[in-house]
Amino acid sequence: MFDALGSKVFSTVVALSMLLFSSFKGNDPAISQFQLSKTDSYLYVKAQLSTAFENDFPSIFASGVPVNIHYDLDLRGANGYHGKRRVTNRISYDLATGIYEIRKEGLPSIYSKSISEVLHEAAHLEVAIPYNREWGELKVKLSASLPKVYFKELGKQMDLMVLWKYKKPGASGSIDLRRLD
């Protein structure tokens, strides 16, 4: 809890300092179109990251180093905590062919030469989670983050959260799992 609070304070201070003293654009990621739906067996979470990859990311993706985009789901029901789920979208680039591969969990890989398609797919989340009806009213918190990437040729590790100004976009919603549709 303190980590999350510290991270929020830090990102707020960074945002303030950027506003006051920098012309750096970076990216201001936000989660939009956050939707929760269910079938008899699965809970579906859909979301779209907006304004997250427009600046600087094309050159990062085009470096050939695979980049993971993590979506963390926090599930809390009326009767208890039901754990975390991490879903990762992975983008890798073949320098020889100039083709991007977008790998999403549980789905076949997508190949594309278009960076705009890559950015759109990378920002899109769609995941199915099995559930129990006893969970009742379920509160789902979603947050996105970027890992540190390792540049093998340079022998250097760098934090991609810099490009999001250390801000972890998030959204939350709730759904009653006992109700029959």
């Binding site: 201070v13 960074v14 303030l16 300092s17 950027m18 006051l20 003293f21 920098s22 012309s23 750096f24 970076g26 600087d56 050159s59 990062i60 085009a62 470096s63 050939g64 180093v65 320098l95 020889a96 100039g98 540049f151 093998k152 040729e153 340079l154 250097k156 760098m158 934090d159 991609l160 810099v162 490009l163 100004k165 250390y166």
Partner: protein
Amino acid sequence: MRKMSLRLRIFILFFTVSVGGLVVLNNVFQDKHNNIHDALSKMELSSSLREIRQASREDSLKAQSLMRIYSEGKAAVNIALSESRIMTSLVLLIIIVLSTAIFLIVISRINKPLKELKNATDQIRQGNFSVHLSEKGMPEIRELKSSFNFMSRELEAVQTRLLIAEKEMIWKDLSRILAHEIKNPLTPIQLAIQRLDERLQTDPDTVNDILKESLTIIAQEVENLRLLAQDFSQYARANQPALELLDPAEALSEIVNSYLSNYEIKLDLAENLLIRFDKTHFYQIITNVLQNAIDACEENPKIEVKLYKERSYAVLSIIDNGKGIAEEDLKRIFEPYFSRKTKGTGLGLALVKKLADVNHSIIRVKSSPGEGSNFTFIIEEKSP
């Protein structure tokens, strides 16, 4: 416009020079970062290398390695640039917040004791030398407070010594004057009694011839002693006035009337003027100055009493054609017990000054030896 406090001026100076300098430096850095970023975005190698016909597998591997190094390098520089720009701004913000906080703390730690010193100095100025400061705070401030405490203790000691010396001097003067003033009437009384006693011894039948004269002398000198006691009593009691609206022309006419049968006093009094003055004090002042004017004229006294309006003040002048006051005495005429007259206690003009002060009026004295004196009172005029 209200003057800026020292604290505000130092703060503005600090902000302009220190923070302003940092902001300018940051802008230069940010600008340079932008230039590097723009240049980097235009550097493209991979697509060009892919278009080159690579003759062998070896060439192809070399080209791929080159592209990897270049692309990773470009991405890493991009991230490092972004990080640098964020960190520069963040560090600048932290420096500004911290330095401002430290500055304000230091300033308040300097300002608080300075305020204490100012208040203490004000108290010293008002004559309270017993004020001492607690010697806390920064070493320089402690030193300053210590010096101040040393000074106030010295002043207090000097004040105490002065008060003792002054009291002693007052008692000595008072004793001398009282002894002298009491001795003066006692001598004629003693002489009159001795004369009566001698006559009773030598020729008791004719004692009645000198009895009346001797009793008159004794009665006169007793009256003088009573007046002396009255003078001292009045001087001691002259303090808070009972201010009331007073028509000075009317009061002056009333006072002067009792003198007109014996002396030539010219009145020139403006009507319709009102002042706020203690009526008893007014009578005491005028009577004293008028009596002094009469005493100053050895023969044929010509006295003029004027009352007129000047701006928002009532101006009252008592002018005589007496012997005047020597220049060196003018400075001392309002001192208690100072007198060049052969009779009196020297308290008359001191009382006049004291009464004028407590009634918020100003006295001006002009005098030329051999020509006469002019005592002028300036009193604020009041509407009814």
